[in-house]
């Protein structure tokens, strides 16, 4: 009924949605959306390096994104610049370096659009393996650091005072962010990965009254977005990334109706 590439894209997309759901909640809670953007922008450099040295794309993106996150932490300690300025600095300079390096790689045919917005044709069986095993590891680690990470998200000093080691949890979470970007770059594209993290979580916030519910709805929202997005991408021959994000946006708009209703009920 469907082509193999579409089935692969579907399996890949659903795997990604399972991971971006819970991680996206923390991105929203900790106000890290611009941080996610910065890591995603730096992913272009990771992709070009992967082509230059014939590395695995996900691995290369993971290494470069983690490196950028490390540099950010050092800059935050050593300079007096505000956080958003540092993020902008790293995002755009790593993007620029990535684009310049692409210019030198004239011997390789680049699908820039695919890189920026995702390409379902590009997903191979190897990618599926990376997405699902990588995703499983990310979720497992997130479960292990959930308590300290969540407690310090609510209040850093309470977590620190009561012995939860929030700094370690934060460092591990940063690595998880780099990892989720690495596994989803082919599918969603580097300009839209942050949308995949934020929009389902934002939708979930509108219909949740507890953190557990928000994580659950965020995952469900992400899965639905992938399904709706990929089918419409096939139907209308659009890029997979934008189609998935648009589906997520539709769900978000629907969740706004719920807010209006609950306000009406209160009155």
């Amino acid at each position: 009924m469907f082509d193999d590439f579409f089935i692969r894209a579907l399996i890949a997309g659903l795997g990604i949605a399972l991971v971006t759901g819970p991680l996206g909640c923390f991105v929203v809670w900790r106000r890290l959306s611009y941080f996610g953007d910065t890591l995603a922008h730096s992913a272009l450099l990771g992709v070009t390096l992967a082509y230059s040295f014939e590395l695995n794309i996900a691995l290369s993106v993971f290494i470069i994104s983690s490196l950028i996150a490390l540099i950010l932490i050092q800059l935050q300690k050593k300079t007096n610049l505000p956080g958003d300025a540092l993020l902008g600095l790293l995002a755009h300079s790593s993007l620029a370096v990535g684009l310049v390096v692409i210019g030198f790689l004239t011997f390789i045919r680049f699908d820039i659009m695919g890189l920026l917005f995702g390409d379902i044709l590009a997903v191979t069986t190897d990618d599926l393996l990376i997405i699902w095993t990588g995703g499983a590891v990310i979720l497992l680690v997130l479960k292990l650091i959930w308590k300290p990470l969540f407690a310090s998200t609510v209040n850093y000093e309470l977590a620190e005072a009561e012995g939860l080691n929030p700094d370690r949890a934060k460092a591990i979470f940063t690595i998880l962010m780099a990892a989720v970007i690495a596994i989803s770059i082919k599918m969603v594209g580097l300009l839209l990965i942050t949308g995949m993290l934020i929009i389902p979580a934002a939708m979930a916030r509108n219909i949740s009254d507890s953190p557990q519910k928000m994580v659950l709805f965020s995952i469900i929202g992400g899965l639905l977005s992938v399904l709706l997005g990929l089918f419409s991408s096939l139907e209308f021959n659009t890029s997979s990334g934008p189609s998935i994000i648009m589906a997520a946006l539709v769900l978000f708009i629907l969740s706004l109706l719920n807010i209006k209703q609950s306000i009406k009920l209160k009155n």
């Binding site: 809670w29 969540f150 407690a151 000093e157 309470l158 005072a161 009561e162 009254d209 557990q212």
Partner: protein, 248 residues
Amino acid sequence: MSSENSTLVKLNNAGFKQNDKWLVEGVSLTVEKGKIVTLIGPNGSGKSTTAKIALGIYKNIEGSVEKYTNKIGYVPQKISIDWTLPLRVYDFMLLTENIKDEAIDEALTLTGVIHLKNKNLGNLSGGEFQRVLIARAISKKPELLVLDEPVQGVDYTGEIALYELIKRISDTLNCGILLISHDLHTVMTATDHVVCLNGHVCCSGSPMDVAKNNEYKTLFGEQASQILSVYEHKHDHVHSDKGEIKKN
């Protein structure tokens, strides 16, 4: 040393410097099991800083901190919670440790906010939130409680009841309490040991000793002598009050 068995946290000549300015320096104090140590002093005298040093929130300190327990309950003075989080009172109670439902209900009942258990944390009033904070800290059955102005924003009758609760918890759980309070009256009646801060330890000892101390009088001025008389008066009152409760 025999005292080490009951010692929960010990500050040795501890201090903390931020931007080349000492927030507090040269503080030595010990909190033992079943004892209440209270920090008093004017604004900016380093009370909260001392508590954070004891808790290990501040890392690069002068002097040293010896901590003999990891079961700690903390009620901070200021707490800013981001309301992008959907968080009920119930979720907040489980923040740093998985506590049994019965223990949660018990703690919320003790602080008089059990009816708020499933309410969103963002919808509570200041006093209600403060009661939840205390409930969360005691529900863990900690060995050490650090309470930084725990009853701020609580109505007057509630304030007295909560201080009585804190005293009772210290007795029943045999936990040590490091208390920061502006309410000198409470300090003088419920505390075992008082440390009077003003950027450094200006005096310390039993409530009576501190109340008679000249430095304390200079620091608190007129109020100090009033409290002294209040203390001597209230002392009898509280004792008879407590006797009644025990008889019941």
